[in-house]
């Protein structure tokens, strides 16, 4: 049923990985990975029924509007797309979400946030990138502030974070900065991931691994 045709001998979505393997490589249990698969199937067949999450399907899921453009959602999508092939498969989905689990190591979250904000993948967060993100937020919020004011507030934060004063924020500076301001990585935790098995009880019927076998 759904987008994955039963005629296909391999009845899973492209890029499917064994839940036992994924559970060993991520913070999720086998049952949680199976629950995530139910979610993944839903998301990946919402527009293009190929079992892969395309940008439009991601936008549809987040904003209820497949055409809505958002700089930050684009960044998240890019990072989820580990293989950089323009789509998110199941393996990438689970591995990426693992970082957002409340129990994931903080160092992983800090590094992930750094990559999110490094818009041009230079390995540093430059002042222009920070300004671009502020402008994106203001546009998204329909707020109009003068350029001078935007520069002022960007400068304040940037100078705090750029402790070495070399005009860019590197990962070490970012780590120190987050230690002083822990709320900066609030976006990196999704409380819903703790209860994922409750959201998709249908997995219980399809599960090939019982609770007692799971670690």
């Amino acid at each position: 049923m759904g987008c994955v045709t039963s005629k296909n001998a391999n009845k899973y979505t492209p890029g499917y990985e064994d839940p036992v393997v994924l559970a060993s490589k991520t913070i999720f249990t086998v049952n949680e990975v199976e629950a995530l698969y139910e979610l993944f199937k839903k998301l990946s067949c919402s527009i293009i029924k190929d079992g892969l999450i395309h940008k439009e399907e991601f936008q549809l899921a987040l904003f209820r509007n497949s055409n809505k453009k958002n700089l930050f959602a684009d960044r998240v999508f890019d990072l989820f797309d580990i293989k950089r092939n323009g789509v998110i498969d199941f393996g990438e989905f689970v591995r990426s979400l693992s970082v957002f689990h409340p129990n994931a190591p903080e160092s992983e979250k800090i590094a992930y946030a750094f990559r999110l904000y490094d818009l041009r993948h230079t390995g540093f967060i430059e002042r222009e990138e920070l300004k671009e993100m502020v402008q994106a937020l203001l546009t998204e919020s329909d707020l109009v502030l003068s350029d001078e004011l935007i520069d002022t507030i960007v400068d304040k934060t940037f100078n705090q974070a750029d402790s070495k004063g070399d005009g860019k924020i590197d990962l070490d500076e970012w780590r120190d900065y987050v230690k002083q301001n822990p709320s900066l990585i609030r976006i990196m935790t999704l409380p819903y991931l703790k209860d994922i098995t409750m959201s998709f009880p249908s997995f219980i019927i399809h599960s090939e691994n019982s609770e007692t076998e799971a670690i």
Binding site: L39, L43, A61, L62, F63, R64, N70, L71, F72, A73, D74, R75, V76, F100, Y117, L130, M133, V134, A136, L137, E140, S141, D142, L143, V144, L145, S146, L149, T152, I153, V154, K156, T157, F158, Q160, A161, N181, S183, L184, R186, I187, L190, Y192, L193, I196, S199
Partner: protein
């Protein structure tokens, strides 16, 4: 340069609002006053502290992945606005207007923060289907003459006489009564808020 003071019209509106709320006892006025004093004492003055731009960015809906799990509902929705009003003025207005719109007794609990960021929380006293309706407002003081406010209703489905969507759609009345654009252009802009 000091912030713009109220016009006569605004003063009349403000007086009427206060009288209404006081007489109907919709809102514990003493609490509101205490709230403002508390916030001022704990440092919410007009000086800008260090607003953290990364923290502001974190409120973008592009980073909020909760709709993937909760069928389209967001963890936080909200309106952003910027203003040159002194923060203490805006606190009292947000409190009064929200309470009036909620049409119920409301209690306020100030949760003072630090670093130019504060939170004001207003809670209706009656319970809706899913608990009390609360409006939380985050205040970021970003520059001497500008603060960013973010108001959002959290959690509860309000009782039918005070729907959550009404709170947000009524927000433009706050603007109509209270703020007008100043001649130098640096002013409050309302976001249309989607429910």
């Amino acid at each position: 340069m000091s912030p713009r003071s109220w016009t006569d019209e605004e003063k009349r509106h403000g007086d009427l609002l206060s009288k209404y709320l006081y007489l109907t006892r919709r809102v514990d006025m003493k609490q509101i006053e205490k709230t403002i004093q508390y916030l001022i004492v704990s440092g919410m003055s007009e000086r800008p502290s260090d607003p953290n731009v990364f923290h502001l960015i974190s409120f973008s809906e592009g980073f909020d992945l909760s709709p993937l799990f909760v069928g389209g509902k967001r963890r936080e929705e909200g309106i952003w606005f910027a203003t040159r009003e002194p923060a203490s003025c805006v606190v009292s207005r947000v409190a009064l207007d929200t309470a009036m719109i909620l049409l119920h007794r409301a209690s306020t609990s100030p949760m003072a923060g630090s670093g130019g960021r504060f939170r004001l929380r207003i809670e209706g006293e009656e319970r809706g289907r899913m608990g009390k309706l609360a409006v939380a407002t985050d205040i970021f003081i970003v520059a001497r003459r500008c603060s960013l406010w973010r108001s959002g209703a959290t959690g509860a489905t309000p009782p039918s006489s005070a729907r959550g969507s009404t709170v947000m759609r009524s927000a433009p009345t706050l603007k109509d009564i209270m703020w007008t654009s100043s001649s130098d252009g640096q002013i409050a802009t309302w976001i249309k808020y989607k429910v």
